[in-house]
C-alpha cells in the first residue's frame, strides 16, 4: 500500500517537474523526493508517530491540484464565500492561496513601508532567486521528516514576508489557505517569513476549505534576527474530512521575541509541529495553543524548544478540550544545551475530557544538559472541577450552564493571550457559539 503511495507521488512529481523552474529548485525538489522515497510515510512504529496513525488517511493517494486544474482559476462565489468567512479585519493585508497557489484576485495588499516585501513565493522565486534559494534549502532538516521532504519535493508557492531592519510593520498580514474542489486534492504551501533586526510583525495563517477530502501539507519557515518580535497566529479551520499536517520552524537570534498562538478546530487528523531554535542569548519564546477535537477527530500537537544559548526564557501553555470519540496527542520537548545556562523554561499542558470515549496522550519531555537552569513542566488531565461546578450551582446556576461556563473559561485562558483584537474577537465568538453562550458573560 505504502509503496504504491510513494509511486503515485513520484509520478505526480515527474509531471510537476516538467513545469519550467530554475535549475536549483528542480534539484532541491529532487532531493526532497529522494528523502521522501527513502523515509516513506510514517508508521505507528516510529516514536514520533506512536499515537497518530496516518495510514488510513494516506492509503488512497491525493492529487496535486495544480496538475488537474488550470493556474488561473476563475474565482467563483464559493471561493468568495470562503474568503469572506476567513476575513478577520479588512485593514489587514490579505494573501489568499487556493489549493496552494496564490490568487491575486482575492488578495488585498495595502501600501507597505519601503523595503517591506509581502508577496507570494512563486513570484519571488522568479524575481529574487538568490535570497530565496538559501532560505528554502537551509534551516530545514527534511531528512528526518517524511512530510517535510514531501513538501520540499513539491515546493511551488506560498507566502513570502520580509521585513527589513528596524521596521515596525503596522498592519498584520493575514495568510488564507483555501482548499477547494471535489477531488482528493493535496497542496504543499511553503511560507517564508523573515524579520530583520529590531523589526516587529503580526502574521495570521488561516486554513479552511470546502472540499470533502483533501490534504494540506504546509511548512512555514520563520527567521527572527536580533531583537525582532513576531506574533504568529494559526487558525486551523479545515473541513472535517481533511488531513492537515503542518510544520513551523522558527530560528531565533539574540534578544528576539516569538509568540505563537495556535488554535485547532478542524480536520479529521490535524498534526501541527512547532520547532523553535533559540540560537542566541536573552531570547523570549511563548507558545500558546488550544485544540478542541470532537467527533472522530484526532489532533496532534508537537512543540520543540531548543535552548542553545544562555539566558533564554520559554513559556508554553497548551490546552485541549476533547469531546465525543476524539483523540488528542501532545508532545512538548524542551532541550537545554550545555551552553544554555540560566535558562528558564516553563511548560504546562492541560486537557479536559468531556466524553468517556475521548482519549488523550500526553508526553512532555525535558532534556537538560546545563546545570544552572530552572525548568518545570506540568500536565493535568481530567474532567471539570467538582468544586467549581458546585460553587456555581450553589449560586443558582443550572448544571448545564455551569459546565459551559467552565469549559469556556478553560479555553478562554489561551484566547486571552492573543493581542490582535480582531483575532481574539473571532475566537471568542467561536467559543461562545460553540457552547451556545451569549456575549453578555464576557
Amino acid at each position: 500500500m505504502i509503496a504504491t503511495e510513494i509511486e503515485t507521488y513520484r509520478e505526480q512529481h515527474a509531471a510537476f517537474q516538467r513545469k519550467s523552474s530554475p535549475e536549483w529548485l528542480v534539484e532541491l525538489r529532487q532531493q526532497g523526493l529522494d528523502a521522501f522515497t527513502r523515509l516513506g510515510l510514517p508508521t505507528k512504529r516510529l516514536e514520533d508517530w506512536r499515537f497518530t496513525n496516518v495510514s488510513p488517511l494516506t492509503a488512497n493517494p491525493y492529487e496535486l491540484s495544480s496538475l488537474t486544474s488550470p493556474d488561473n482559476e476563475i474565482v467563483g462565489d464559493e471561493i468568495n464565500a470562503l474568503v469572506q468567512q476567513a476575513t478577520l479585519d479588512e485593514s489587514y493585508h490579505r494573501l489568499v492561496f487556493i489549493n496552494g497557489r496564490y490568487c491575486e484576485e482575492s488578495s488585498r495588499l495595502h501600501d507597505v513601508s519601503s523595503g517591506v516585501i509581502i508577496d507570494n513565493l512563486a513570484s519571488v522565486i522568479r524575481s529574487r532567486a538568490n535570497e530565496v534559494r538559501d532560505q528554502l534549502s537551509g534551516g530545514l532538516d527534511f531528512d528526518e521528516s517524511a512530510f517535510a521532504a514531501l513538501n520540499t519535493a513539491f515546493i511551488d508557492d506560498g507566502a513570502f514576508i520580509d521585513i527589513p531592519d528596524g521596521v515596525a510593520s503596522d498592519r498584520p498580514v493575514h495568510l488564507v489557505f483555501l482548499s477547494t474542489g471535489s477531488s482528493r486534492t493535496v497542496s504543499h504551501p511553503r511560507n517564508l517569513i523573515r524579520l530583520g533586526k529590531g523589526s516587529t510583525a503580526n502574521v495570521i495563517e488561516s486554513y479552511l476549505g470546502n472540499g470533502d477530502v483533501y490534504f494540506t501539507n504546509s511548512i512555514t519557515q520563520i527567521t527572527l534576527d536580533e531583537s525582532a518580535e513576531l506574533d504568529h497566529h494559526k487558525l486551523q479551520h479545515e473541513q472535517i474530512g481533511a488531513l492537515h499536517i503542518a510544520m513551523t520552524r522558527v530560528d531565533q537570534r539574540t534578544s528576539s521575541h516569538f509568540r505563537s498562538h495556535y488554535f485547532s478546530f478542524g480536520g479529521s487528523l490535524a498534526r501541527n509541529e512547532l520547532d523553535c531554535v533559540l540560537d542566541g542569548e536573552r531570547i523570549e519564546t511563548t507558545l500558546n495553543g488550544l485544540y478542541m477535537p470532537k467527533g472522530d477527530q484526532l489532533m496532534d500537537c508537537r512543540t520543540r524548544i531548543d535552548h542553545a544559548k544562555p539566558n533564554g526564557n520559554s513559556h508554553e501553555l497548551y490546552k485541549g478540550i476533547l469531546d465525543d470519540k476524539s483523540k488528542g496527542v501532545f508532545n512538548g520537548k524542551i532541550f537545554v544545551r550545555q551552553d544554555a545556562q540560566k535558562t528558564d523554561a516553563k511548560q504546562s499542558n492541560q486537557a479536559l475530557l468531556l466524553s468517556d470515549d475521548a482519549s488523550v496522550n500526553t508526553k512532555p519531555q525535558l532534556e537538560i544538559y546545563a546545570d544552572d537552569v530552572r525548568c518545570t513542566h506540568g500536565a493535568t488531565i481530567g474532567e471539570l472541577e467538582e468544586d467549581a461546578l458546585y460553587y456555581l450551582r450553589s449560586r443558582g446556576i443550572p448544571i448545564d450552564f455551569a459546565r459551559k461556563l467552565l469549559i469556556f473559561a478553560f479555553a478562554n485562558d489561551v484566547v486571552q493571550g492573543v493581542e490582535l483584537a480582531a483575532v481574539r474577537r473571532h475566537l471568542e465568538s467561536l467559543l461562545l457559539s460553540g457552547h451556545e453562550l451569549s456575549e453578555d458573560i464576557l
Binding site: E47, F51, Q338, Q341, A351, L353, L354, S355, D356, A358, S359, V360, N361, T362, K363, P364, Q365, L366, E367, I368, Y369, A370, D371, D372, V373, R374, C375, T376, H377, G378, A379, T380, I381, G382, E383
Partner: protein, 481 residues
C-alpha cells in the same frame, strides 16, 4: 576532603590491582548462549521438564527480538555470546579474620554502618560459629515457617512448591515481555521465591536474610513474591555495601502478585560497581520489575535508591487491576562520574478507584546522565482513578544531564492525572546559607541533597534509610567544588 577523595580513588584502583575478588571459578561452562546452554543450566539445577520447556520457549523467543535502543543511554554493543551463562557459586579465597581485609574497605563499611557479622560475610571472611550465616538463616526460616511464609531460593522452591511456582512464574512478566526479560527467563540462575499465605502479616522485614542469602546469586536473578488475600510483606533487596561484581551484564526479573487486601512493599538499594571515574567498567543493570495488584484494595509499593551501576535501565511498574488498588513508586537515582540511568515506572490503571503516586528524584553529578521515563495509563474502566506524579531533578556540575520522558494516556473522563516536573541546581544561596553557619561546602551539599531525597528516604525501612543516606554522600563525594 580531598585527601579522602584521593583515598577513595586509591581504594577503587587498588581493589582491581590486587584482584581482591579474584575468584576461582569452580563450575563454569564455556562462554556463549545456545539451546544446549539453556538445557545444561536446567539440568545442573535438576529442574523439572516444564521449567526447561519454559526456558527454551523464552530462549527461542529471545532469538527473534532485537535489543532495545529507545532508551537514553549509550554503551558499546554487548556481545551476548561472550558471557558465561552459568557458574556455580564462586569460591573466593577465604580469609581467616577481618584483620586480613583491606582497611580501606573496612572503613567504607564503617561509614555505611554495616554490622560486624555482615561485614565479614561481605568481605568473604569465614564467619565463626556464633554468627554463622547459615544458622542465622535457619533461625529466620523457622520463624517464617511458623507463620506459613515460604521464603526460599528460587531453585529450592521449584522442587518444594512446584505448583505455586508453575502457577505464578511469568504470570506478571511473560517470557516474551522484552529483550532482557526473555534473556533472563531463558538463563536465570537463581533468586528468591516468597509466598505469604492468606491473612498473614510477615513477622519481619525480609531483608537481612536476603542480604546474606543473596551473596552469590549470579547475574540473572529472578524474584517472585506472592501475597495472598490480606497478606502483608515488606521486602528489601540489594546490598548497601559496595559490591564488586565482574559481570558486565545484570538482567534480573522481579514479579509481584498481590491478591485482595494484600500489600507488598518492595525496597531496593542498589549499589553495584559504577565503573571508575573515567567510565571504565561497571555493571549494566537491565532489570524488569512489575507488580500486579490483582485483588481489590491491594497495594504495591516500590521504593528504590539507585546509586550504583554504570547503566541503570529499570522501570518498576504496577498493574492496578483490582478495584481500589494502590500503586506507589518512590525513587532516588544518582548518577555521578560517567554513570547513566534511564529509570522510572509504569502505572496501568484498569480497575475503578485505583490510585497511584510517583515521586522520582534524580541527581546528576560529574558527567552523569539521568533520565526519568514513566507512563501513566488510565484505561477505559478506570473510573475515578487518580494519579499524581512528581519528578524532580537536581544538577551538580555543568556537564551532567537530567531528562524526563513521561507518557500520559487517558481514556476515562473521570480519571485525574497530575504530573509535575522540575529541574534545578543546588542553590548557591542555600550553600551560602549553610556555609555561613560553619558547614563545609561538601557537607552543605550533602545536607541539601538529603533534604531533596527525604520524601523517598522516609519510606525505606529505617536501617536502610540510614545506610542509603550515607551511601548517597559517599557516591557524591568529590563532585562538588
Amino acid at each position: 576532603m580531598t585527601s579522602e577523595n584521593a583515598m577513595l580513588e586509591e581504594f577503587a584502583q587498588r581493589e582491581y590491582e590486587h584482584g581482591f575478588v579474584t575468584d576461582i571459578e569452580a563450575d563454569a561452562i564455556a562462554p556463549g548462549l545456545s539451546e544446549d546452554v539453556v538445557r545444561l543450566i536446567s539440568s545442573k539445577k535438576n529442574e523439572p521438564e516444564w521449567l526447561l520447556e519454559w526456558r527454551l520457549k523464552a530462549y527461542r523467543h529471545w532469538l527473534t527480538l532485537e535489543e532495545p535502543n529507545w532508551h537514553n543511554v549509550k554503551y558499546p554493543p554487548i556481545d551476548y555470546q561472550a558471557s558465561v551463562y552459568y557458574s556455580a557459586p564462586k569460591e573466593k579465597p577465604k580469609l581467616s579474620s577481618l584483620d586480613e581485609v583491606d582497611p580501606v574497605l573496612l572503613e567504607t563499611y564503617e561509614k555505611l554502618g554495616i554490622p560486624l557479622q555482615e561485614q565479614k560475610v561481605l568481605a568473604n571472611v569465614a564467619v565463626d560459629a556464633v554468627f554463622d550465616s547459615v544458622s542465622i538463616a535457619t533461625t529466620y526460616r523457622e520463624t517464617l515457617e511458623k507463620h506459613g511464609v515460604i521464603f526460599r531460593p528460587f531453585s529450592e522452591a521449584v522442587h518444594e512448591h512446584p505448583e505455586l511456582v508453575k502457577k505464578y512464574l511469568g504470570s506478571v512478566i511473560p517470557y516474551s515481555d522484552n529483550f532482557y526479560a526473555s534473556l533472563n527467563s531463558a538463563v536465570f540462575s537463581d533468586g528468591s521465591f516468597c509466598f505469604i499465605p492468606k491473612g498473614v502479616r510477615c513477622p519481619m522485614e525480609l531483608s537481612t536474610y536476603f542480604r546474606i542469602n543473596a551473596q552469590n546469586t549470579g547475574q540473572f536473578e529472578r524474584t517472585l513474591i506472592i501475597a495472598e488475600e490480606g497478606a502483608h510483606v515488606s521486602y528489601l533487596e540489594g546490598c548497601t555495601a559496595p559490591k564488586r561484581d565482574e559481570h558486565q551484564l545484570h538482567a534480573a526479573v522481579v514479579e509481584l502478585v498481590a491478591m485482595d487486601d494484600a500489600e507488598i512493599k518492595y525496597s531496593t538499594v542498589q549499589n553495584w560497581y559504577p565503573g571508575d571515574a573515567e567510565g571504565v567498567g561497571g555493571i549494566y543493570n537491565f532489570v524488569t520489575k512489575r507488580g500486579a495488584c490483582r485483588g481489590k484494595n491491594s497495594k504495591i509499593s516500590w521504593t528504590q535508591v539507585e546509586t550504583g551501576s554504570a547503566i541503570t535501565w529499570k522501570y518498576p511498574s504496577v498493574i492496578l487491576q483490582g478495584d481500589n488498588s494502590v500503586g506507589e513508586f518512590y525513587s532516588v537515582a544518582v548518577t555521578a562520574n560517567h554513570q547513566q540511568a534511564d529509570t522510572g515506572t509504569k502505572m496501568i490503571h484498569i480497575g475503578k478507584n485505583t490510585k497511584s503516586t510517583i515521586i522520582s528524584k534524580g541527581i546528576s553529578a560529574g558527567v552523569g546522565q539521568n533520565s526519568y521515563r514513566g507512563e501513566v495509563k488510565m484505561m477505559k474502566g478506570a473510573t475515578n482513578a487518580r494519579n499524581f506524579s512528581q519528578c524532580d531533578s537536581l544538577l551538580i556540575g555543568d556537564r551532567c544531564g537530567a531528562h524526563t520522558f513521561p507518557y500520559i494516556e487517558v481514556r476515562n473522563t473521570t480519571a485525574k492525572v497530575e504530573h509535575e516536573a522540575s529541574t534545578s541546581k543546588v542553590g548557591e544561596d542555600q550553600i551560602y546559607y549553610l556555609r555561613q553557619r560553619g558547614l563545609s561546602t561538601e557537607d552543605a551539599v550533602n545536607m541539601i541533597v538529603n533534604g531533596f531525597c527525604k520524601e523517598v528516604y522516609d519510606l525505606l525501612p529505617m536501617e536502610f534509610a540510614l545506610e542509603a543516606r550515607k551511601l548517597l554522600s559517599v557516591s557524591l563525594e568529590g563532585s562538588v567544588g
